[in-house]
Assembly symmetry: C2
Homo-oligomer: 378 residues x 2
């Protein structure tokens, strides 16, 4: 095991009606909040009203920036930063899914910086501090509610970039599984894909971390066990709760402690697909993961086999990859570019973008010919 | 799953030579430290000197209270509180095993209280605050380095009591596996017993928490896998590191999130054994656990079987309990009172004390006849 530091200060409130703990939490952090929301669903299902009621009862003023996109744009972040500065808010509250909470994190850093928010994401300027972030989660997928990471994209420069900083941990996250009852079948499935990808990206990194491996396999087993029952019973509280909790666990640090590295190639390969074709983030993962594992297979056959055995109950390397593919298929998510409507010249555009990727976060380096080989498989 | 709150703010520094991060951490918390130590081994193996070097290089003054016993006494806590108050220290640093760090936590609360430290432990007076606690761990067992709990005993009232409070989380814990190389075979085995007990006490509580169950089984598998190799190779860094890390995980919160309760009967039954006969804490667990599970077997047969299957590779309820017993035997720890030198009238004294226990923390209540039945089995 390599040296590591454990630190995760998030106070995460989990369960039915847990929103009732938001007012006190917010009041302890200041008197005025910037609410960040997406395209409007939280207005329809009453979640926004529940948050506002909490703030008003706790005598916390608020302003709102709405319209964050599913693949969040730096332009929205910039506008919200401007609003937050002019309104001199004390905290930023993301009410929505991963894109909203990720945006809230970067906005919270941007408000305390003199620099352009994209410069912070690109690490051209260091994040020094951020306003307190609170997260009210409405989609169980990215794990942002329990970590210090955020991903935003910049269409002008064709980049989608992740950033992490200790000041970006939410101070409080509120996870009420009933808030995810209205998530449709497609996005429920995507959440499963996303959280499993986070677990696998830790597992397929470098270095020996046996307990972390066991945790990853636990997370994959849990996700695999609940996925189809949940798609069949979307209003089952217990299944929604299990999904919401396991998603938070997939990126809370424990799947990684002791490793030399994770391998974030699949996310890196997926981001350009989202950027070029506005493909949902998790669809890029279900498309790329089996192909990348096929490419990886000769390098870590035992590890892939162990995953197949312990998660899918199959024996063998290629059988394990097939089982993952079959599982994705059973969820109804795409496992090829064609299934996502991407063909012909678009594939060439993608390859060109892949070849321009800076190989950050790869445990197993990818050469140009590797990008071509992976593209041939999807 | 029941509602819960995740909160664990400990900054845990793990790995070789990680002590080098102590000076800066201590300096950020104040200018004078109260060092708490045990019976002297840290003076012999250089660990105390390494801590002092860090403090002196960081310009942090220090005073020491030494002599904490393996089952820590409230009297030592009281004396250290008096010293800490008179020396107006800013922080308390425990350098040792669980008893030292637990004592440091209660001392840190006692210094900021006007009341007797035992009143805090007994909850006659609420803990309001505590000085910052730092832990330099020399024994991997109790998990105190990553939680807000402490246990101390009061021979005058024949009580050994655990307490938990958010202010008792160590601000920083330093876990260098090489610091445990000198732990002898017996105490290395006891550490395995102790950490497995913590995991099981979560697992055998009430309520459904499937991911937490998977984590518990992961912890038990990890402990089971490393135990005998480590006893055979006590200076193997990787095995020491795995033990140190898994012990911290067994009581970090995750084995419990979502449960209605744990079941802490075995610890409760074990404490009077320590108190009456000064039996090492973990020996009380290896004596009581198989007996308590035998008593529990008709109530949760599937859960016991699952543990046997996934951890020991055996099928069946009683086979699982036997496998646990065999495992303890292979570690060389006692599995009966007789093996711990407790016989005859001493058993009656124990039964009398058990019957006086306030049934706190039992998921499955124990009547007087149950105490007798369990005593008959050990």
């Amino acid at each position: 095991m390599k040296n590591f530091t454990v630190h995760n200060p998030v106070i995460l409130h989990f369960g039915r009606e847990i929103i009732k703990e938001l007012g006190t939490a917010a009041k302890s952090l200041g008197n005025k909040a910037l609410l960040i929301t997406g395209k409007g669903s939280v207005k329809q299902n009453g979640i926004f009203d529940a948050v506002v009621k909490q703030l008003e009862e706790a005598d916390v003023q608020w302003v709102e920036y709405s319209g964050i996109k599913p693949n969040p744009l730096i332009d929205d972040v910039r506008k919200a930063v401007t609003l937050g500065k002019s309104e001199t808010v004390d905290m930023v509250i993301g009410v929505g899914g991963g894109s909203v909470v990720d945006s809230a994190k970067v906005i919270a850093a941007g408000i305390l910086s003199e620099c352009d928010a994209w410069a912070l994401v690109k690490r051209e300027t260091s994040i020094e501090a951020a306003l307190p972030v609170l997260a009210v989660l409405t989609l169980a997928a990215t794990g942002t509610e329990l970590n210090q990471f955020a991903v935003v994209q910049n269409p002008e420069s064709s980049e989608k970039i992740g950033i992490g900083h200790p000041s970006l941990f939410p101070r409080h996250s509120f996870l009420d599984p009933t808030y995810t009852f209205s998530v449709n079948r497609e996005h429920t499935a995507y959440g499963i894909v996303d959280l499993m990808a986070h677990a696998m990206e830790n597992y397929f990194g470098l270095g020996d971390a046996p307990l972390a491996d066991r945790y990853v396999l636990s997370i994959l087993q849990e996700a695999h066990e609940i996925a189809l029952p949940l798609l069949n019973e979307p209003n089952n509280y217990d299944l929604r709760a299990r999904k919401m909790w396991v998603a938070a666990n997939a990126l809370n640090g424990y799947p990684g402690y002791g490793r030399l590295s994770g391998d974030f190639a699949v996310h890196a390969l997926g981001h350009p697909i989202s950027m070029l074709f506005d493909t949902p983030h998790a669809a890029t993962l279900s498309i790329v993961y089996p192909a990348w594992l096929t490419w990886l297979a000769p390098r870590v056959p035992e590890k892939i086999s162990r995953m197949g055995r312990e998660v899918f109950g199959v024996e063998g390397v290629m059988e394990s990859i097939s089982a993952l593919k079959d599982f994705y298929r059973s969820l109804g998510v795409p496992i090829s570019l064609a299934e996502a409507g991407i063909e012909g010249n678009q594939r060439k555009d993608l390859l060109a973008l892949w070849k321009k990727l800076q190989a950050q976060g790869y445990a197993y380096p990818l050469a140009e010919s590797d990008y071509e080989a992976i593209l041939d498989l999807i």
